[in-house]
Amino acid sequence: MADNKIRVALTGNPNVGKTTLFNVITGSKQHVGNWPGVTVEKKSGFKIYKGYEIEVIDLPGTYSLTAYSLDEVVARDFIVDEKPDVVIQIVDATNIERNLYLTTQLMELGSKMIIALNMYDLAEERGDKLNVEKMKEILAMPVVCTIASDNVGISELLDTVISEKQKDDHHAWRIGYGDEIESKILEIEKVLSQDSELASKYPLRWLAVRLLDGDENILNKISGSIIASEIKNILASLDIEEYEALMADKRYECINALFPQMCERCMTRMTTSDMIDRVMTNKYLGIPIFLALMWGAFELTFSFASPFMTIVEKIFLWLGEMAAIHIHPDWLASLLGEGIIGGVGSVFSFIPNIFILFFLLSLLEDSGYLARAAFIVDRIMYKIGLQGKSFIPMLLGFGCNVPAIMATRSIEDRMDRMATIMVLPFISCGARLPIYILFAGTFFSKNAGTVIFCIYLLGILVAVTSAKLLRTTTLKGHPAPFILELPPYRIPTIKNGIRHMWDNGSMYIKKAGTIIMGGSVVIWLLAALPWGVEYGSENSFIGIIGHSIQPLLGPLGFDWKISVSLLFGFVAKEIVVASLGVLYGVGDDHFALTDSLLADPNMHSITALSLMVFSLLYMPCIAVVGIIKKETGSWKWTAFSIAYGLIVAWLLAFVVFQGGMLLI
């Protein structure tokens, strides 16, 4: 690597301002992607500074590097395998003691390290006396004070990065584990050193420590080596669980001995946060405040976004009309207008929703309230086989399932996250409402509100039952243990909110957009071919498919027109209404459609009910399928979600229709 290029990895506990520091250093030169093979988000960025090209990689926030979670494995593997020039650990100056635990583990990785003592202003404000010089001396590494949110200490940090890069030596300081463990470390190290390839790749002491710590991940790493069986024999003769505890003790013992020298008068109380929490998580006020905040966020997202949604819809409508007028031949106009512009437009109309939602979510998260929300609702969610962090995605699902599924990223445990993603499509999103309004309004005019309410309730019920079911079958087991830090309350910054909104929003546009574009074209082709038929008519492929699947849907009371509409509904569920309009030959006229439906001898209240139930539950729309694939990283789970939805929808609609027919 050229000498003016420096690779820097950012590490640190969650909630220490790591993302803020990353943003301050790299500005707009960022790239967001995934770590290879896993769904953990990878952020990297560049900074040109004093003639150096500094590449900054933002590692996932972790409390430790013991490979408890995917995040920890990703962070650790990057440092060990990719060997960045410098590792910066961001340490929360108000919580040094716990942050140092990660430091003790990072030091063993053998990289050059710098501590960025972030938010030191907050520590000083509350009266802590930090001895930074002593800290440098004890840890034998540079310590730079920063206030990332105010851009303080950043150039000093970058200067330190450059000077560290030029140094040859490594940090010598490390934890001593006591005679007994040290002798075992030496023994294992000696065996490991026989494999020269291993020795050139990893620091051997670190490997030995990790093995004694019962790290399965490392055991896998050395499984191909000639010394693997010898190592296994040594480990088998030891009580690894005992060693693990002893080593953690030693690390904390070290910290306990050194910490008072670094911080002479450190407060251990978070007075302001505690005062806020006396209200926010109060026995009586906690839940009403939580509900009010959630309702507020929800209301703001969907009412504030609705004028913007109308604008986006109008733009696409106008584009479609323009295509119809100005583009020849007609089939191309139709492909562009009805196919691509129509399909993409229906998805783009959710963009205002998604942007506002992620902005608010970011404010809630950065303020520290999101952790409290999980704390408050965990008990209820645990009962249905999920956990506290599943609640917010479920709530968002009522608006649109796409951002809801994206929001499940905050759930660390993969099983918990999968279960949440799988049940989310049953939460009735806003796009399904037009179907209910049409059919409940037409066939249950007096009780329309009650009927729609019951449909929503049914969605929740199916979601809850499915969660329970999944937890006893495919995703067997209890929800992961709930061990969650409640970080101090902080004032969120608008800047971070906007960045978060932009990152997630643009990802939605990019990823969902491509799949939807493809899906729209396929649906259009099916509706427009064979050559010369009227778009979406009985003779088009989709009409033919509608006819051929009609026997399957007949037991639910659906004729071919409804079957075709449901196929169209795959693009976006509100299209069911629009395509019924086309099939009944009334266009977009709501009242005309109501009259036609009432006049149709095949349609009556039981059919309407069955159709509403089916629309609620049948496979997620194409945007949701796209996002499920992206977030689960698995076609198998995506296929499961589609199949499961179809089966549940069919069964329940069957019960409604056949049961209803018996009662009449």
Partner: protein, 78 residues
Amino acid sequence: MVESTLNDLRPGEKARIVKVLAKGTVRRKLMDMGMVPGSEVEVVRTAPLGDPIEFRIKGYSLSMRKQEAANIVVETIA
């Protein structure tokens, strides 16, 4: 000094951790978060529905369910 488990303490009570009975990943996670023998813990409050519980340890707030707390043996301190 009375030995009990962490889930039995009431808000405001302080204790010192004697032993962590949890196994596997839960044990590791607890250790990572500072729940190791010798550490001082204070019960801050329970969630509005009675579970989980919020603790103060090493100067920060940590919450966990009662079932996790039941695996931590403590001795109460005044």
